[in-house]
Amino acid sequence: MNPFISPLIPEMATQEVQLNETLAHLKTESETLKSKLEEERAKLHDVELHQVAEKVEGLGQFVMKTRRTLKGHGNKVLCMDWCKDKRRIVSSSQDGKVIVWDAFTTNKEHAVTMPCTWVMACAYAPSGCAVACGGLDNKCSVYPLSLDKNENLAAKKKSVAMHTNYLSACSFTNSDMQILTSSGDGTCALWDVESGQLLQSFHGHAADVLCLDLAPSETGNTFVSGGCDKKANVWDMRSGQCIQSFETHESDINSVRYYPSGDAFASGSDDATCRLYDLRADREVAIYSKESIIFGVSSVDFSLSGRLLFGGYNDYTINVWDVLKGTRVSILFGHENRVSTLRVSPDGTAFCTGSWDHTLRVRAICSLI
């Protein structure tokens, strides 16, 4: 017997033990790094945002009114988006209908019936000439909007994105030519609209991705996503890499939105809180919550200056927060079921909410006292 060849079986057993040890070791290493990182970041957490903001003048009282109510959906409104013209809106609902409205006149301009129910995502193209939508069909489709009202929009439909689970959100980039999507399959993806080709995929979430938002910068190549793994990730669109990650929420993150300068973003979660994360400090810098608010946040958006944060909640209300001071400045009633979607108009003159009560409401400030 060759003394240099050791028996195989014991060796394999040793290897297996080594593999298990490696995973455990790696996990320990990861935990150690996490603690170290938390320690380092905590050193820079020298003050709270609301403390620094004490010197800022408080916001006066204001009266916000519903100025338009859009009725026409036959079931829960799940998503909406503004057109760059500041008055048109696209909305989608559980009954498979996607409607384009001129919210200013409340006229319905286009309607499409999707072949599936639960159309959870819709977006308006920057040119205003197309809309994208999808949901339980696992796809994102683009419909060019025809000026001819009699034309059947469904005929020109273009299938762009293909996921292996529901489409949770979609957004055009700065052009009609690319769409960014997020899905229940745990990934985000960037697509070329014309060819339907996948340009980049983004892996890193450990569960469904529920929302995304593109960085507002003109030269920006990043976006943020939020998921059921309670994480908010910031991604580099060019490389597909996750460049920053935040995990302080206690439940699903339903909505993420950039602060207008692009240096921070807000999130809304089923843990009934909204939070503000700053990218330069790589840290959560504010939490917007109240003991009396126990239902989840479905959707958030900032006012134009970033001073106000609007949150749509599952308790049918909208809470308006002073971003700097961390206080709630107003609670708005009106919807008769969950608020599922909320967006501020492109020029900040109004915000629109969509609800499970089948309606959309456009609200603006009536008077400032």
Binding site: T22, L33, L37, C228, L308, A350
Partner: protein, 474 residues
């Protein structure tokens, strides 16, 4: 990377349902309801109320609940307390003893607390239970058990649906009535009302919100995802769509593999090397940004002439779209080069200024690269070549000045031209414009004139004011 302090080992809690979004809310409501009932710890007094000839056991007034909520949850506005209380009622945790509609009223209306049920049945079993429940009520001659119109309709429909099983159902109902008769009168009243309230949640009065409806994205973590199917296929009489592909099988959170953890480790190392700013500094930055833009924020400042949504007047939009910018708009161009370039009028003015300084190729290059990123995939390669020829090649007609490093990188990128081939170059040129030309632009006569409204830009004559803007909306 920010991480909250939770005892999480990485793969979530043992029972995924306990962490599900719905359970989180229900736990919070249960906590509130437990506290309200705890008389020793400041809860409301649950008592028996005498009413005409009978006694009403175990009740609380709506006003008491509202008071409690305001005091213990720091709610200043009674409307908010009533709204929260109504939601707690809509979810079935408290209920009015003489109304099917589950809302909270801030008056002497009497309410009871629901017993904690662990009923977790499949939808089909619930239909059977519902039928038995309605049936047994018809067997007893008591005014309080009489069926409301919509309940009688319910029962008629269920009777048709269960045609062949009717005898079985009838027997079950009879058996329950027999058992109920043996109970103490007060206890029966309470149990009957609790049972009725349970059904008011699961079979709400037409027009009331069905709070058991779920967000389909969250259903996978529920113990009985079958419940969901009803909402997937829409309302029963909505005959339109085919069934949708609902993937309910997979686990909500993937278990991390060795590769996942290795990836995480390299990510964490990168984060550790990152240079971050202090919170005090970012706070100042956020504050100054917000302060700068507050005068433009329609939710914070009054905008001129008026908000279109309030006065139904589109003048504000027409002014913003015009190439004849207001002083306020011109002021924004001075905030940053990005702001100036965002506004088409600002872009035009800056370009004109650069032309006067014979350095417009920088901005034209920047704009060309922006346009490149917006092209369909098919056109990217050829467009990239065009940009190279125009701005960077030997003897280019609009030659731009790049440092040798960026030039090398870009030249390399062009071997396999893509959307991001010019990123380095674009960034370099932007920094150049920002530090050099932009500062001079702000000091220039043209800009100063506009800022101080000394001269007006030439406006197109004969522009039609449109009420319905066309498709193009830049």
């Amino acid at each position: 990377m920010a991480e909250g302090s939770r005892d999480q080992g990485g793969s979530g809690s043992t029972d995924p349902e306990e962490d599900s979004p719905n359970m989180i809310v229900y736990r919070k409501i249960e906590d509130i309801v437990t506290r309200i009932q705890d008389e020793k710890a400041g809860g409301v007094a649950i008592r028996t109320v005498k009413s005409f000839l009978s006694k009403i056991p175990s009740v609380v007034s709506g006003a008491d609940i509202v008071q409690w909520l305001m005091k213990n949850l720091c709610i200043e506005d009674p409307a908010e307390a009533i709204h929260l209380g109504s939601l707690i009622a809509a979810h079935g945790y408290i209920f009015p003893i003489s109304d099917h509609v589950l809302t909270l009223k801030d008056d002497g209306t009497l309410y009871r607390f629901q017993v904690k049920t662990t009923l977790d049945n499949h939808e089909c079993l619930r239909y059977v239970l519902r039928t038995i429940y309605l049936c047994k009520r018809t067997m007893q001659n008591k005014a309080r058990l009489e069926l409301a119109d919509y309940e009688a309709e319910n029962l008629a429909r269920l009777q048709r649906a269960f045609a062949r099983k009717w005898e079985f159902i009838f027997m079950q109902a009879e058996a329950q009535v027999k058992i109920d008769r043996k109970k103490d009168k007060a206890e029966r009243k309470i149990l009957d009302s609790q049972e009725r309230a349970f059904w008011d949640v699961h079979r709400p009065v037409p027009g009331c919100v069905n709070t058991t409806e779920m967000d389909i994205r969250k259903c996978r973590r529920e113990r009985n995802p079958h419940r969901v199917k009803k909402s997937v296929y829409g309302v029963p009489d909505d005959g339109q769509s085919q069934p949708s592909p609902v993937h309910i099988s997979s686990q909500p959170t993937r278990k991390p593999t060795k590769e996942d953890v290795q990836k995480e480790i390299s990510f964490l190392n990168i984060q550790l090397d990152r240079h971050c700013m202090k919170v005090s500094k970012v706070a100042d930055s956020l504050m100054s940004y917000t302060e700068q833009f507050m005068e433009y924020d329609p939710f914070v400042s009054v905008i001129e002439p008026s908000n279109p949504w309030i006065n139904d007047d589109t003048t504000f939009w027409d002014l913003e779209a015009s190439r004849d910018p207001s002083q306020q708009r011109v002021k924004k161009w001075g905030f940053s080069l990005e702001e100036a370039l965002k506004d088409p009028a600002g872009r035009d003015q800056f370009l004109k200024f650069l032309e006067s300084e014979f350095s417009s190729e920088n901005l034209r290059f920047w704009l060309a690269v922006q346009d490149l990123k917006r092209r369909p995939l098919q056109e990217v390669s050829s467009r990239a070549q065009e940009i190279w020829q125009e701005f960077l090649a030997e003897g280019a007609p609009s030659s731009i000045n790049l440092d040798s490093h960026s030039y090398e990188r870009t030249s390399q990128n062009l071997k396999d031209p893509g959307r991001y081939s010019f990123e380095d170059a674009q960034e370099h040129i932007f920094k150049l414009m920002k530090s050099d030309s932009y500062a001079r632009f702000l000091r220039s006569n043209t800009y100063q004139d506009l800022l101080l409204a000394r001269k007006k830009v030439n406006v197109d004559k004969g522009r039609k004011k449109t009420l319905f803007p066309s498709c193009r909306c830049c």
